[in-house]
């Protein structure tokens, strides 16, 4: 599974660093390092709905407050 977080300026200001750190932490905690590839990208052209995250080809809008929920429903449940 490939998870990509937007680290462009708009998403960065909306907290993409905390989203990246949250996902990194949860991947480690759940021992998913071999199964989930986490990467960054600059801008997904959907700045209004940032922080933009894609899981394989599906797009999501995540915030630092919803990252745990997002991880459970979209990553942990599907991996």
């Amino acid at each position: 599974m490939k998870v990509t977080v937007c680290i462009g300026s708009s998403c960065h200001l909306k907290g993409s660093r905390r989203v990246v750190e949250g996902i990194q932490y949860l991947i480690a905690e759940n021992n998913l390092k071999d199964k989930v590839e986490l990467g960054g990208t600059f801008c997904m052209n959907n700045c209004q709905n940032g922080v933009c995250v894609t899981v394989d080809d599906k797009s999501f809008s995540v915030s630092p407050d919803t990252v745990e929920d997002f991880f459970k429903t979209q990553i942990l449940a599907n991996v």
Binding site: I7, G8, S9, H12, L13, T41
Partner: protein
């Protein structure tokens, strides 16, 4: 001067630049870009000089025909210049005014005084007096130290040194047999000091704006591939007539996919360079400034193993962008003419596709009639305070110090020397080569003030350093580790 366009006063338009030479160069770039966007450059190329110098009354040279002949050369350079000359800095021979070059000379202001301070000040005994007590300099003895001129109460002794020669601190400029300036490419570091200082605009940097326009157009609105703008942190001191966010929006309106701060690459470099420094057991010289790196290669080849092995900040972040988006095209926009050499190097070519200056960006905005002051503000925030202050002298050393602390490398004692301008760099390298410089990190910036003094800046002001520091403090991330936590560092 050009007639004021729309309702903006002429003074305001000129105000974007320090000098009229920059303004003239900008007008050529703007017209070339206008035709390039329209796809009519080749058919209308010969009309451009007449657009800039209409009518029959000369405003710059002896006649409009000479003005237009020089403009033809400027158009060529705006389109990439002489392909056989590897240097991006080029002399326009017809524009060179063949300034006097006699060095120190006594002028008519000499009153034939009794004090003869000039004679006392001259250690070479080069000054003598005629029967009117007027001073004369014996050129065979004079070493051009300037002490006579400094001591004359009437400032009657002048230095007739060419501005380009004075500006070139690496002694790369001499005169050819036609008395026009000539650049020795084996000495030139492409810093652009002569470009900014020549009062006739006879030395100029080649432009790659038409390559950028082509790149944007062929991307078909960033569908075929994405074109990223990578802006240097010196932008914090530029375009002061508008807001930074408006400049970023303007870049988007030009057709770039998005804009990224090269300062994030600076954060990455500070992190890796501090580690390299602590581990190397000797000293390092910085690798950020391409003119400084070139200077070491050309003048202190024995010291080149001590150049940090990191790519420059721009190339470092460009490499990361390419790892996330391999088909992307990356255009660096900055204050630097030496960057136009750097991106052609084998080690950097895979990451940076083109380089333009802030001057050229201004020309691109106006070639599409984008008035950035009327645009909404876009965001630009990728780097930390420390990445952003790389733009001014001393910033790199501050960032390395910070990175050492953040990595708990507190046992390592940093002894940094920040060299402001290529003369200071030369002095420090010379001392180091003789083993008399107590420093383990030499930060070298070829331009005085650092990148904010770069030849490709629109304006060079006293306030620019403060502007960069202010821009640095506005960064969301306050530490280097926070800024780089979202990117993977190269192994």
């Amino acid at each position: 001067m050009e007639t004021p366009v729309q309702n903006k006063p002429a003074a305001k338009r000129q105000y974007k630049f320090d000098t009229k030479v920059q303004y003239l160069k900008y007008k050529v770039l703007r017209e070339v870009a206008r035709e390039a966007w329209a796809g009519t450059l080749l058919e209308n190329i010969l009309d451009i000089p007449k657009i800039i110098v209409p009518g029959k009354v000369p405003t710059m040279r002896c006649c409009v025909y000479k003005e237009r002949a020089i403009l033809e050369e400027r158009v060529k350079i705006a389109m990439g210049g002489d392909k056989n000359n590897p240097n991006v800095i080029e002399v326009i021979e017809t524009a060179c005014d063949e300034c006097p070059m006699g060095g120190y000379e006594v002028t008519n202001a000499c009153r034939g005084c009794l004090a003869h301070r000039c004679e006392d000040a001259c250690r070479k005994g080069a000054i003598s007096f005629d029967h009117n007590q007027k001073a004369h300099i014996d050129k065979s003895k004079c070493v051009e130290c300037g002490m006579c001129a400094k001591n004359c109460p009437y400032t009657a002794i002048m230095n007739f040194k060419r501005p380009c020669v004075s500006a070139c601190k690496v002694n790369a400029i001499s005169m050819n047999e036609d008395k026009a300036a000539e650049i020795d490419n084996s000495k030139c570091i492409s810093c652009g000091a002569c470009v900014y200082q020549c009062p006739f605009g006879a030395i100029t940097d080649k432009s790659f704006i038409i390559n950028v326009i082509d790149m944007i157009q062929k991307s078909e609105n960033n569908n075929k591939y994405k074109v990223y703008a990578l802006v240097a942190p010196a932008i914090g001191s530029q375009y002061s007539y508008a807001k930074l966010g408006q400049v970023i929006q303007g870049i988007k309106e030009l057709g770039f996919f998005t804009t990224i701060e090269a300062a994030l690459g600076a954060d990455m470099v500070a992190w890796m360079e501090s580690k390299e420094l602590a581990e190397c057991g000797d000293y390092l010289t910085s690798s950020c400034c391409p003119a400084f790196v070139d200077f070491i290669h050309k003048n202190f080849p024995d010291m080149k193993e001590h150049i940090s092995h990191n790519l420059s900040p721009a190339a470092t972040i460009a490499r990361y962008i390419k790892s996330t988006d391999p088909s992307s095209k990356i255009v660096f926009i900055g204050p630097c003419t030496a960057k136009k050499m750097e991106f052609q190097k084998e080690s950097v070519r895979p990451y940076i596709d083109c380089v333009i200056t802030f001057e050229e960006l201004q020309a691109l905005f106006d070639s599409k009639d984008i008035d950035i002051t009327s645009l909404p503000e876009a965001h630009l925030d990728n780097a930390s305070y420390f990445g952003r202050i790389f733009a001014r002298s001393g910033g790199l050393a501050d960032a390395v110090k910070q990175a050492l602390t953040e990595q708990n490398l507190n046992d390592f004692e940093l002894k940094a020397v920040s060299c402001d301008g290529i003369e200071a760099c030369k002095a420090a390298l010379l001392k180091k080569s003789k083993g008399v410089l107590d420093a383990n990190f030499i930060e070298g910036m070829a331009c005085v003030g650092g990148c904010i003094g770069g030849a490709g800046c629109l304006t060079h002001g006293e306030k620019n350093k403060a502007e960069v520091d202010k821009y640095g403090k506005e960064a969301l991330e306050k530490t280097i580790s926070e800024a780089i936590s979202v990117v993977k560092l190269p192994e």
